[in-house]
Amino acid sequence: MKAAAITLTDVTKRFGSHVALDSVSLEVLPGTAAVVLGPSGCGKTTMLRVIAGLEVPDSGQVLLDGTTVSAAGRTHVPPHRRQLGFVFQDLALWPHLTVRQNLDFVLGSTGLSRPEQERRAHDALALVRIEELAGRYPHQLSGGEQQRVALARAIVPEPRVLLLDEPLSSLDAELRADLRSELARLQRALSLTTVYVTHDRKDAAVLADCVIEMRAGRVLAVHCDRSRRHDPA
């Protein structure tokens, strides 16, 4: 049986006296989309950051494709070696780089040849339909366009796992619906293992193969049903 793409085993993370994650255990299978649902402050973002290696768990283990990447108090594999893509809630686009340069910076760490980097950058921009924006700076783009750039930047290194932290929270309802469908389409097309954090059930309805419900740092329930996904349009 294939190893889970992501495995968390009894992961606990504290910030001072606040327990952000309380013995969280879960698995995400390869090629599936897991949506983590819960109210603000329940630990969703912390869990994502622990998977990415941006936070070190106080106890428990984090495995990617069966390999331990973090264990209690220790990082075995730093973030940039985990082959992840991450879309931050506030996008974190580098303001001094153009759209294309944002992607080039990521590709510069892959060790690929220049022609291959060109191909990947072109493909990523085409996939999210922003080829014509390559020369612009982030402040010259609309909210929806910035969102697509963040997505392109996350998928351009062909990561094994894509992590998204409430990426649509700052968009209006119509744009949100469009991009939600777009994300679902991309995830299916690339068969990309995806963990998507949100507090909006509509996101789960469109995107999720599995819904992980969290509250107060704990996983309350996991519902997996590939047939649940539907296009609300």
Partner: protein
């Protein structure tokens, strides 16, 4: 109140510089042409430019990496390290030059009185400006931008490709300000016998009584400083002064650098702070007679009194101007900021010449000339701009909506400012007072020109004693001056730390 403060600002700060500009441009006669074509001018220009560029480069080379260390390397007792590494900027540069002269290393003797020596001394005094500008700029970076980089690149690559380009404008602006301060400096090149514009202005006026020549020499320096300072201020924009350290969110932390960083920081603190003070202590221990010390009591008391009164007047004006600047529209705010930086950048000897030109005339202006009031005017002219910048930044942290809430509740403006705004500016006002006091207490270039006959401040006394008094006596006075400067700063720092701990 703001109107009165504005009038005081124009009279004290703008008028001397405006007078010089008008006089120089209006008298584009033979005197100026002769000076302009004088072959000495070329040497002066070269020396001045080299002093400025050399100091800016060396100070940035020392200071910027220290700023990165303070922001990105988890050092123990970082606050103490920052205080010690930043302390050299509080020392009057001529005191460090004095220590350099008394270094006593034979292999350096040829270089004791030289342009490279002046560059080294000024760099060791001014590098904290680069250090603090770099650290503040790094702390203002949104940590998410670096985290986004860490997902795909090593910390070193993120530092090079994401972080450093974002702080580059602040580092460059700090280098420009260091350039301006270096070319404006009088005490160090004077002591180390380096011919630059500021020493020539002083010689032309104080030794040769050639007012026209002094003014003619002042113009190129004034223009240079104004242009460079304006560029620096425009580059920094709203980031010029910060009063609140950002929450320490620095995802790129170089733990492996701790030991080498600590060694580097210790080396710099040793060279820039410990060594000069130890040299002065060594010299001071050789004191045989306390005559020059006891004979300096008047100068010491004078300095303390004048610096205290001066700082109080400076802060009184600056709090009004700072409030007005903070509440102005963005365009006006930035224009005011550029003007304030430019005024601060005007070299001290040039301010002195300007003050003499304005106030050395028949009554009513002439009533103040020849009195201690001229020293107070010197402090106001030089330091109201920097105090205003500090207090404008402090006022900006008080949200406008607080005043609006007071207004809609029926409270008048004056009561709102007294009851809502000023109480929240207590730390900023205290900090501005300490900065103004330290700067005024150590001021030399303007004071030496405008001090009334028979009156002296401690810096003037030290500078004039250097030529004909044993170095031990001068060293003792210099140490005393350093102690007076560090005490209020240390006290202020302790009070702020206690407040933050609470």
């Amino acid at each position: 109140m703001i109107g009165l403060a504005f009038v005081a600002f124009v009279v004290c700060c703008v008028l001397p510089v405006a007078y010089l500009l008008v006089t120089t441009l209006g008298a584009a006669g033979s005197g100026y042409v002769v000076v302009a074509l004088d072959s000495r001018q070329q040497g002066l220009l070269l020396n001045t430019a080299l002093l400025g560029i050399g100091t800016a480069l060396l100070a940035t080379t020392i200071g910027a990496p220290l700023g990165i260390v303070l922001a990105r390397v988890p050092l123990r007792r970082r606050n103490v390290v920052r205080l010690l590494a930043g302390a050299p900027v509080l020392l009057p540069p001529y005191i460090v030059a004095l220590a350099w002269v008394n270094l006593g290393w034979d292999w350096l003797s040829e270089w004791t009185y030289s342009l490279p020596a002046a560059i080294v001394v000024l760099s060791l005094v001014l590098y904290p400006l680069s250090m603090l500008a770099t650290e503040v700029a790094l702390r203002r970076i949104d940590g998410r931008l670096e985290e986004a980089g860490l997902i795909v690149a090593s910390p070193g690559r993120v530092l090079r490709g994401i972080t450093l380009p974002l702080v580059a404008p602040s580092v460059v602006a700090a280098a420009l300000i260091i350039f301006v301060l270096a070319v404006s400096e009088f005490g160090v090149p004077g002591l180390l016998r380096v011919r630059v514009y500021t020493t020539e202005v002083f010689t032309a006026f104080a030794a040769l009584y050639d007012f026209s020549r002094a003014i003619a020499l002042a113009l190129p320096l004034l223009v240079l400083c104004v242009v460079v300072a304006a560029v620096a201020a425009a580059l920094l924009g709203d980031r010029l002064v910060t009063t609140r350290r950002s929450v320490a969110f620095s995802p790129v932390a170089f733990h492996a650098w701790r030991r080498p960083a600590f060694v580097g920081v210790a080396l710099v603190i040793g060279m820039a702070l410990a060594l000069p003070l130890l040299i002065l202590v060594r010299e001071a221990l050789g004191v045989r007679s306390l005559d020059s010390a006891t004979g300096s009591i008047d100068a010491i008391v004078n300095s303390l009194l004048l610096a205290s009164v001066g700082a109080t007047l400076i802060v009184t004006i600056a709090v009004c101007l700072g409030y007005a600047q903070a509440r102005a529209s963005r365009g006006v705010r930035l224009a005011a900021q550029v003007l304030l930086v430019v005024l601060f950048a005007v070299p001290s000897t040039i301010v002195g010449v300007g003050l003499i030109g304005v106030w050395n005339r028949p009554a009513p202006f002439g009533l103040l000339y020849g009195t201690d009031a001229m020293l107070l005017l010197a402090y106001l002219a030089r330091f109201v701009p920097v105090a205003t910048l500090i207090l404008a930044a402090a006022t900006q942290t008080v949200s406008v909506s607080q005043e609006e809430a007071s207004a809609v509740s029926g409270v008048g403006w004056l009561r709102t400012v007294r009851g809502i705004v000023l109480p929240q500016l207590r730390v900023g006002v205290a900090g501005a007072w300490v900065v103004a006091f330290v700067l005024a207490f150590g001021e030399l270039g303007t004071s030496i020109l405008v001090a009334p006959p028979g009156e002296a401040t401690l810096p003037i006394r030290i500078y004039t004693l250097i030529a004909n008094t044993p170095s031990s006596n001068v060293a003792m006075l210099a140490l005393l001056q350093s102690a007076v400067i560090f005490l209020p700063v240390a006290a202020f720092g302790a009070v702020v730390s206690m407040r933050e701990a609470r």
